[in-house]
Subunit: 147 residues, 4 copies
């Protein structure tokens, strides 16, 4: 299981009037981590885009455990959970100085520039499967358990 970790220093503009980071911003952090993961383990996301593909987000789940404040340093870790014919799932752990502040999962469908689903080219899928934490039936069980 190959993980990528992005370090993020919380900017003031991500906070809200509760004095902490607004929860919608975590969804953006997940994207920062996904892009880094593709850089390190697959290929840069800009290359997918240059070839007319996007990974449309079909599901987001975030569990918030601790509030995060301005200027806190968080580490967003991500890995590929599973990959299927035209979709994949990523899992995430967000920590602040060793303390877990949130966990998350996202699911994505490969689409063309017209927004219509595309199947993953076979070699790309094989490459991704070698990186996935879960496979086959395991995947379904995992999905039921973790969401």
């Amino acid at each position: 299981m190959r993980r990528s970790v992005v370090l993020h220093r919380v900017p003031f503009f991500e906070t809200d009037a509760m004095g902490i980071v607004h929860h919608a911003n975590y969804v953006r952090w997940l994207e920062l981590a996904r892009v880094a993961w593709m850089d390190e383990h697959d290929r840069p996301y800009r290359e997918w885009v240059a070839q007319g593909f996007h990974f449309a987000t079909t599901r987001v789940v975030v569990d918030y455990r601790r509030a995060v404040a301005f200027d806190d340093r968080v580490a967003i870790a991500t890995w590929l959970d599973w990959v299927a014919g035209a979709s994949l799932a990523m899992a995430y752990e967000i920590d602040r100085e060793g303390e877990r502040v949130a966990t998350a999962r996202t699911e994505h469908a490969l689409v063309g520039t017209d927004g219509r689903p595309r199947r993953l080219p076979a070699p790309r899928r094989a490459g991704l499967e070698a990186l996935a934490a879960s496979r086959g039936r395991q995947r379904e069980a995992r999905r039921a358990k973790t969401t």
Copy 2:
């Protein structure tokens, strides 16, 4: 079950380079609907805030079904699913001209201005329970089924 519906015309700044609304923005739409629900069925959120309370978001689940584009009109419907001693859950349906584009759920914990959990004052809880779609064991079953 009391629902509130917020109408939202998609601004250009909510779109991304895929040409559609960026998925993180849906999480913000849910907040617009919650605030409207409290106005209509509970009390304005600014009054909770004025009394030193916030509903911290502890969980977000969004299932995306259809892409939404600039200038589309969406309707975000919300209702209270369940309420417990210090927390509650809202459910959401997002439609565009009668077509379902997304569903979502959020969970929230009542906190003070210090960020620490607070129990719902008994009369408020009773008032909210009367508005909830699910109760008691039903609640847990519902949670298992819908997330």
Copy 3:
């Protein structure tokens, strides 16, 4: 001079840890007002986009006079200040219950989907000029004075 006015109720997610609306959000409000102005006085912005045009923003000036809080109601008024061969400028006044909270100006260049400048088609330019508050040398003087 034809004005358009957009009413906006401040969502919680626009606030920051100072307890007020983060200043970057005002720039988004200006866009809401521009889109409404085009609907009412020119043609819907989605039609420009459908024809392969965008108005790229080349300059933004915002003067902030009063802080704005969660749940405040603001009115963003806008009008066309001037139009030239391939560009135009909009002016804005933002009020809360009759009190001026900010003023702003933006300048825009017409571009194609390739991002390159395009000249305004002559009939469109003539139509816009009839709506502009300033003309010819007046325009330059106004620019010097107001920015």
Copy 4:
């Protein structure tokens, strides 16, 4: 004149349906640079906040020269232009691989947690003045010329 430079890799969520970074996001970039400047030349902004102060933004001017795309690397440079009794101005240059993509200026007023203006404590003001690019009458001239 002491400058600070922040490097920023453009995330996908900052783009819009024109395929480039939405102009409102540049205003957020300026904040990243200011916070870095205070870290390096004054004191961390979180310390100002911890002492009950904020620098409220009173003016923003951004001139956009080149579009910026997903995954571009930009460098946001900033310096203190002038400081007065209760306010200061920052200037900015944003480059992408040596090409200027935007310039900007912001002005700020020191306020307390109640949002009311505060004068800069004399030693802090003296310290800041030693870092400012412009002084006295120069400041006014500069303001007239550059905005």
